[in-house]
Symmetry: C2
Subunit: 175 residues, 2 copies
């Protein structure tokens, strides 16, 4: 399985809180090992995602970028293959084989305006459908394709609570 790190480009405090939180939680739930947030330093998001990891388990990390460009260059040096999700890119289904064969992948999820440099520095610009929708959805579907659906079964070590699947209602088990 490839190692996947997500870079959330262009976070703005308050305004982007929910969308960025969803990106973080999707990155974690769908098997990425880490998310790096570029933009305004927003301690509340760091805390809330760390709290989720502490309760629900796993080793997911959240941190802030020291500029998106520096982060991308650093990860390229470490051997990461850089995939930028954008509705203007090449279709995911046509490029997924190339992507999932990489050992280490940096997935960039942008916000409304992304600098041209992101397109230039990325190894692949990839579109999930060619329609306007959601970076959260694009991230989820891309990770699902990279991990071939196996992430749906992922176990999170050291969880204090976990869901016991139910036909009706809720059942959360504490350890």
């Amino acid at each position: 399985m490839p190692k996947v790190v997500v870079l959330r480009y262009g976070h703005r405090t308050v305004r982007d809180y929910r969308v960025s939180s969803h990106c973080c939680l999707v990155a974690r739930a769908f098997g990425a090992k880490q998310i790096i947030i570029d933009g305004e330093r927003d301690e509340s998001i760091l805390k809330s995602i760390s709290d989720v990891s502490a309760r629900w388990g796993g080793k997911f990390k959240v941190e802030f970028a020291d500029g998106w460009k520096k982060t991308v260059e650093e990860y390229k040096k470490k051997g990461y293959f850089v995939v930028h999700l954008t509705m203007y890119g090449l279709s995911l289904q046509k490029k997924i084989r190339t992507i999932k064969n990489k050992e280490k992948i940096l997935v960039i999820v942008g916000s409304q305006k992304v600098e041209p440099g992101v397109y230039e520095l990325s190894d692949l610009n990839i579109s999930v459908t060619l329609q306007p929708h959601s970076e959260i959805a694009a991230l989820a579907v891309t990770l699902d394709r990279i991990f071939g659906g196996k992430e749906l079964e992922k176990k999170f070590s050291g969880a204090k609570i976990r869901v016991k699947p139910m036909k009706k209602g809720k059942n959360v088990v504490k350890r």
Copy 2:
């Protein structure tokens, strides 16, 4: 291919604008034929999604629910199979065969608090991973599984603009 309608449960004006918009756009991009929004009547979301459809094509419809319960009951009468997405439900991958064999499916995407009646009235309560993440991601992955990835290739009739996939940069073609 099944006919899919999405019910967005519990929309609050302003506060939920972005997340509900993302749900609407994902429903459209991933092949649902309609979304019904339950909660506060928010004309701005109706307008923005209708504008997207007018430009990007297709026959996607957005409307408001006259109460979630009435909507669910109405769709059940019309023969829709009701799937409620919740982290407490049965795993998507275990139930997808049952779901995708239905001709008509109503997918309910909730918000933070969902009334117990939603669990009761639904034919299936389904979880996409058993982790906390995002209703937007859950919706995208569920639709992707229902349509078996074919939605990624979906053409939208009557589009005024469309994306021409590019290795780098953006190319939007007008008709």
